[in-house]
Amino acid sequence: MRGEVAVIGVGMTRFGEHWDKQLRDLFVEATLEALEDARIDLKDIKAMFIGNMGSGMWVEQEHLGPLLADYLGVPGIPSVKVESACASSGMAFRLGVLAVASGLYDIVLVGGVEKMTDVTTPESTHHLASAADREWEAFYGVTFPALFALIARRHMKQYGTTREQLAKVAVKNHKHGSYNPKAQFQRPITVEEVLSSPLVADPLRLLDCSPISDGAAVAILARADIARKFTDTPVYVLGSGVGTDTIALHDRDDITVLKSVVLAAKEAYSMAKVEPRDINVAEVHDCFTIAEILAYEDLGFAKKGEGGKLIDEGVTELGGRIPVNPSGGLKAKGHPVGATGVAQIVEIVLQLRNEAGKRQVPNAEIGLTQNIGGSGASCVVHILGARRR
């Protein structure tokens, strides 16, 4: 499947609080941008895969597949909602890739959308907890920050990872976000600000946590051999991998390893025929700062327990050996959960096309996206390349 599918266009809304827009408005906006980028018309789209975690909970609307096809003016085309908690649109992208690679469709639209701000924060916290084990974790008062705090505490105890190292992840991502006009937060922050921000779930503080956001992101996929009909800079999907793990954190042997990430990365690297050190730029799932440290390790950029070193050494900053989250990551760019997966794709595509402006990673040829659901119960990794090779 390596190199069989290409991304010919991308688009996304700004991520942030869109008080005046509804879910369908956001998705249509992102789609229109992607269509223009791909120089393609909706009538050429053969199928749609839309990632979304909780439209039923947040805005009481399910059945997004036909809803959005309808609102895009193409009722009738195959269109379905894909759900995998915060990895929903990463999964949607994967399904789109499979759909095109299977030969059934030549051009497919994949996207993600989430509208979270129409309810109070405690309500969002409640809905987000449905990505955990509702009966055996959420029922007892678990929240998402709590789950990652449990992981962070173990990571700090087992490997000596420090509070400062976690804070540096947030600082780096905010710095990157300040170069991204679509980011929710474009203001740089300092380690002191992170460490003095209010506690959310000890030891994680407000600035360790990605925000609650609204937004949508869309990518258009085409069979690789017709991609150049639409764009001079197709970006090829070299590898795709998916993994799952136990839904509940307490059923895992070692909560500092996200097996779903290891599995997904293995499949993706193998398909792409690359190794971690071949990756030039990555967009990883920093829902909380600790998650980015875990990503470094579980994706193979660092040995288990040594993720903190990478951030200390500046390896993953723009200008470093392997910039991670040049878009600002979930922390600064925003995290409308169902939209994040494809938003990561959007960034990598721009990077590989040399269109990332102030946050461009020079000579980026191979990029990786890592999108996780819940506390790592699901993960999808994609490896994209500027050349089909």
Binding site: E123, G141, R153, A201, D202, D251
Partner: protein
């Protein structure tokens, strides 16, 4: 202030698991011996279908913990609370609230025991959910 009770569990869903929560009943795989807190029909470790309900030990140690200060809607006005993964004496791990102590009094490894407590309620006119929480052994 609780706004919408549409997305909190109602009676049947609570009743389905109530006795398991009250008595700390888990599932044991008869083939590989692993014990789980959730009711399982297939062992996630070895795939066996031979599983049996077991009463879990009511003592264990803290494996990791945190203090939740940004609550979900059903816990608004409850104040910060400690959430922990506890490893019971038989190796089974579960997620629970640690009560009757401040966060400074516990750490990874602290021995804890089960107590029967109120987990929440559907609303002031709705049913009450009970279950086990854990507190430090003294």
């Amino acid at each position: 202030m609780r706004v919408s009770s549409m997305s909190v569990p109602k009676s049947p869903r609570i009743w389905q698991l109530a006795e398991r929560r009250y008595r700390l009943i888990g599932t044991k795989c008869l083939k590989c011996g692993r014990v789980f807190i959730g009711p399982r029909k297939v062992c996630p470790q070895c795939g066996s279908r031979e599983l049996q309900d077991v009463e879990l030990p009511r003592r264990g140690r803290i494996y990791s913990y945190t203090v939740v200060r940004a609550p979900p809607m059903e816990r608004e006005n409850y104040g910060p609370y400690i959430i922990a993964i506890v490893e019971l004496e038989n190796g089974c791990k579960l997620t629970t609230e640690i009560v009757d102590c401040s966060p400074e009094e516990i750490d990874i490894g602290t021995e804890v025991e089960a107590v029967f407590r109120k987990i929440g309620e559907e609303s002031k006119s709705g049913i009450i959910y009970y279950g086990c929480k854990f507190r430090p052994v003294k």
